[in-house]
């Protein structure tokens, strides 16, 4: 529960309000989909998924959007600045378990960041998987996370990459529309597909429904849920989601296990 002191090695702006921090954390290991608690001293602590390569040595990579006091303070940390860090916590994307299957990765907005470690690992073991599709939807072309890397994936790997935005000006020649529409364009065998989804909950709900309509069984669909995580070790109950505690039983969960809860308004 006690954070250790880590230091920012580098900071890069991704979009208008989103930054990626490289944090020296003593070689801390993690699995794709796991998160750390980042503590801005004197302000507060928030859960942030790791967005870097789980198999790469070096600093931990976290991508943070400045939406509140703590996240804003964290995104303002300059190289050399200290922050508290504890983790990693939570469940992980079933990357190894998906070997031999097609894999459909559906990301919405900042949701690409928690999925990126899974994509790195899928690409590192490309021959172990069938078709891989990465479908990414975001607000506008200016809000696309990791655009250069997406182009690298598109060019260099045997991966289907589709990006769509909710609205655009005329400079953008790609897709415009909701990310669920991309599912119909992707090539995969629904009976042998594992789907990984991360984004705003409403986007995940519609995406999971679209995947189900495309023939992917709910038990083969995984999503990353978010609630008000505080302790991150299943003690405080702040992140209770029905019978589950998301910090301990999630954040990555199987759709068939949470599907009934997603439409309970009180949760």
């Amino acid at each position: 529960m006690v954070p250790f002191v880590a230091r920012v090695r580098a900071r890069r702006r991704e979009t208008r309000d989103t930054w990626t921090l490289a944090i020296d954390a003593g070689g801390l290991k993690f699995q794709p989909g796991q998160f750390n608690m980042l503590y801005a001293f004197g302000i507060g602590e928030i859960p942030v998924s790791v967005s870097g390569d789980p198999d790469a040595p070096g600093p931990l990579i976290h991508t943070v959007r400045a939406v509140g006091a703590v996240s804003d303070a964290i995104t303002r940390l300059k190289p050399g600045a200290a922050l508290g860090l504890r983790g990693p916590y939570g469940t992980s994307w079933p990357v190894a378990e998906s070997r031999g299957n097609d894999v459909v990765v559906v990301a919405g907005g900042l949701g690409l960041a928690p999925l990126r470690p899974a994509i790195y690992r899928l690409l590192a073991e490309r021959s172990r998987y069938g078709r891989i599709a990465v479908l990414y939807g975001t607000r506008s072309p200016a809000d696309i996370l990791f655009p250069r890397e997406i182009e690298t994936w598109r060019r260099q790997r045997n991966v289907e990459i589709e990006v769509t935005v909710d609205h655009a000006d005329r400079i953008w020649l790609g897709h415009v529309g909701v990310v669920t529409k991309l599912i119909g364009r992707a090539t995969f065998d629904p009976d042998h597909t594992v789907a990984l989804i991360c984004g705003p909950e409403i986007m995940m709900r519609f995406t999971a429904t679209a995947l189900k309509a495309a023939g992917v069984a709910p038990e083969r669909v995984y999503l990353s849920l978010e609630r008000n995580m505080k302790c991150a070790v299943g003690q405080c109950g702040h992140c209770q989601f029905g019978p589950t505690l998301l910090c301990r039983d999630g954040a990555v969960m199987r759709y068939d296990r949470v599907q009934p809860l997603l439409t309970v308004r009180e949760l």
Binding site: V67, D166, R170, G174, V176
Partner: protein
């Protein structure tokens, strides 16, 4: 020969998948092949909506002009999809622009011709309405999601 070819194209288009051959023939009687180069408009806002398009190849952007902001793209339509629904209801005017983003090949359906056939053959008209209604509901749901701005900072 050309009409029979269009019947086939229409029946093979995903939007009309599973249609009765006689319905494809009826639609084919109102159809012609069209082609648009990149940058060319299929139609502009305010013009009479007297046709719609089954996209066979290419991609079309739907845009609206916003004062001070220029044209805003809100949907792209790809091969296998439909462009145009304003022909269904009066006053039969386009309410947005449609511009080809790349070389686009389509089947254009004459809306007056089709409306007339739907009036004369209500079974056919009902089948058409069911197909267009499904597409309209899907696009309405998508528009609702876009309007919610779920990826915004405060979402």
């Amino acid at each position: 020969m050309e009409v029979r070819g269009l019947d086939r194209l229409i029946c093979e288009h995903p939007f009309f998948a599973g249609s009765a051959p006689e319905h494809c023939e009826l639609i084919g009687g109102c159809a012609r092949n069209v082609r648009f180069d990149a940058g060319q408009y299929l139609f502009r806002e305010g013009e009479p909506a007297d046709e719609f398009f089954l996209i066979r190849h290419g991609r079309v952007a739907l845009e609206m002009m916003a004062p001070g902001r220029g044209p805003l793209r809100f949907l792209t339509v790809n091969a296998g999809e439909i462009v145009g629904e304003s022909w269904l209801v009066p006053p039969y005017r386009w309410i947005f622009d449609a511009q080809a983003l790349e070389l686009t090949r389509a089947v254009s359906i004459d809306a007056r011709c089709l409306r007339q056939k739907a009036e004369e053959n209500h079974d056919f008209g009902y089948e058409m309405m069911k197909r267009f209604m499904a597409m309209l509901v899907e696009r309405l749901h998508a528009a609702q999601l876009q309007m919610l701005d779920v990826y915004g900072s405060d979402a």
